[in-house]
Symmetry: C2
Subunit: 191 residues, 2 copies
Amino acid sequence: MKTTFLSNLSLYPCPVVLVTSKHKQKENVLTVSWAGIASSNPEYITIAINPKRFSYLMILESEEFGINIPVAGNVEAIDFCGSHSGKNVDKFEICGFSKFYGHYIQAPLIEECPVNFECKVYNHIDLGSHVLFVARIVNKYIDDEIKMEDIHEKLNPLIYFRPNYYSLKTEKLGYYGFTKNILPDDKLFLK
Amino acid sequence: MKTTFLSNLSLYPCPVVLVTSKHKQKENVLTVSWAGIASSNPEYITIAINPKRFSYLMILESEEFGINIPVAGNVEAIDFCGSHSGKNVDKFEICGFSKFYGHYIQAPLIEECPVNFECKVYNHIDLGSHVLFVARIVNKYIDDEIKMEDIHEKLNPLIYFRPNYYSLKTEKLGYYGFTKNILPDDKLFLK
């Protein structure tokens, strides 16, 4: 049986990214978990930002941002960058993040995140409490030492399942298409 | 050191939802991992769908869909609904999913998924390989027996980190705001 509910439980679990931005010499980093893939060719992603966040106007005005995908081990820095405002503190400095710069955007990218994207805003939609930015990924970086064959272990991402952060079990449950050979008159058994 | 790369690695890891739709008496269910939260008040989410998928026109024409968040134990049905087309098979039947109906949309919802949303399409953006649907969540359901205090364990969601499905470690790494008391002149240590 089901009941309707009104709590803030929404889509779960969510990825966690560090969004970097630059505007008028000010650089900032904000943890965002409300992000999704929007298209694969060309590549687009979405991020939802509360307009009260210091990064909001920086992204709106510069029309670009960096996406930096952190490792689970740095959960303290990740939480810090989501629960403090860049208006008052230099989050790069406190967290010890090293910056590097890409080819297409002015905003810095974060060396300690193994994967980084340079993004150009394509569209933004004001939805109420949050503004949805739809952005094109124009360039992607990965740590040199990460080989595509052991990428899942090495990237070691974390997940946000409000209000908690989790890592992934290394034991996988399956892979895309592992049920390709199930026939139309087969039956699956639900748990 | 970083290198630019061109592989299909995009944002990771991603949530996994079963998107239900109805159009002209035909009902379908499609596994979608390219989804994100777009706003919290009112609540909006995004899903990206390849226009070649059978569900695409159904959602475009009906302007509504259901979001059903599955449990990790049903990974076989989840993969099946993403790697087979509803054009040729009745995926509800093969997977053994029980349907129920909400108040605001015609599309069915899935009983075996502990959380379900009724969604109305607000906007769609053609981005190339995928069309991004931005939709308002107009109603939410949860299994009666799930209490908000043990929600994380009971919901037991899965994650897609292309091409693999993973469950979440039950040991959490932290919770939102656990670094609230770090002072501006403190330093964090990165791993």
